[in-house]
Symmetry: C2
Subunit: 210 residues, 2 copies
DNA sequence: CATTGTGAACTCATTCACAGCG
DNA sequence: CGCTGTGAATGAGTTCACAATG
């Protein structure tokens, strides 16, 4: 029976990880995979895998395992990564440029369709992906015209909140914030933060406490 | 009384966030901050702030709050970010280059002292930070010579595990893995993963379930 | 009969609520 | 009086353990 309880956020993250391992398993010629095998690859507990998958269906065959291809399709559907998503990147410094050129994004159907900056030396230039860098003042208009649903902030921390407001005004519904600033948005907008200095701090903490 | 229970990992992450807000508060001229103020800035519960700080000391003044400067020092010490850490970056593509040039790292005393790649067109070239890109075969020797304690993997996923082995062999004790591959290391080595496609997947999941 | 699916037990994290104290 | 520090209550996430089953 499909469990209709709300799926925990950690489960979503793991589904994303399972999905990538399933791709690799398929590439290696596997047709079926047990929760134990998948768990080993993802470095989690087998019961965790089964419970996570159980949140949105019953896909396994008892005594056998999961169909590698079929399970991928289920996860893709559940995560809504079975279609294109248009992405706009704000702040075309080194990190913004790196994302624009990052192959993983288009492979996973995240399409970087616009690049914005406020630096007049950059505006009008073309990225190596042949995208014109637009004035941030055109953000509102461009988001609507190109149907951008996800905004990515790759500005310095001091500019992050201002950019967040611009994105909100343009009715972007989700933001991926690479700046180390905490941005403040209304409930209606989703935010995920990627803060690598925080990750480094975890490492230094553990290094000096072990 | 200083609580000696092991500090949860989530608390470490938040300490890093508190620290950055304290820097901003200091910059804005605040001398004291209450748990409520700090909590508001970091978007957490005030009791959470107090409990997190309580794990490693008693720094507050009842009826008043926390000394903004003093608390920063305590957190820095606890996270071990009150000294330099030498970092080596492996994989000088767009993302690796972006990190090499990222100002936040040296500001936070993470020093990128070496850059490695296996591409002969890159080896011997200089980064914009004037660092020579070294052959990955020199990794072992260089890590020891330059006293590199943290390795950063910014290679494609397929190369990540191999690089992890090289880093392990060179006795690097902590790895920050930006590739979407899960790397396998012994207990003695610490790993943190930064997987932005997983973060995007969380956003698309939530977008289509709200 | 190997492996799934899942309640129940357990572990870990958050929040409450208030005593303690400057 | 106001805010910290913290035990107790609650809530969330993980793991166990085993019945269900292809």
């Amino acid at each position: 029976m499909t469990n209709s309880t709300r799926i925990p956020k950690v489960t979503i993250t793991r589904l994303s990880i399972y999905y990538r391992q399933l791709e690799l398993l398929e590439f290696d010629g596997y047709r079926m995979a047990s929760s134990e095998k998948l768990a080993w690859l993802c470095q989690v507990n087998p019961a965790q895998v089964r419970k996570d998958l159980g949140y949105f269906g019953e896909f396994g065959v008892r005594g056998v395992g999961y169909d590698v291809i079929e399970l991928q399709a289920h996860i893709k559907k559940n995560l809504a990564i079975n279609r294109d998503w248009n992405v706009g990147i704000v702040g075309i410094g080194n990190l913004g440029s790196a994302l624009l050129q990052h192959q993983n994004l288009p492979i996973r159907r995240f399409k970087c369709v616009a690049a914005f900056d406020n630096d007049h030396n950059k505006i009008g230039e073309f990225t190596s992906t042949n995208l014109m860098i637009r004035d941030i003042r055109e953000l509102n208009e461009t988001v609507k015209k190109l149907n951008i649903e996800i905004g990515v902030i790759t500005t310095p921390p001091s500019a992050a909140q201002g950019v967040a407001y611009l994105l909100l005004n343009a009715r972007v519904k989700a933001v991926l914030n690479f700046s180390s600033a905490r941005i403040r948005v209304p409930e209606s907008c989703l935010v995920e933060n990627i803060d690598f200095t925080a990750k480094l701090d975890i490492l230094t903490y553990k290094l000096s406490n072990s």
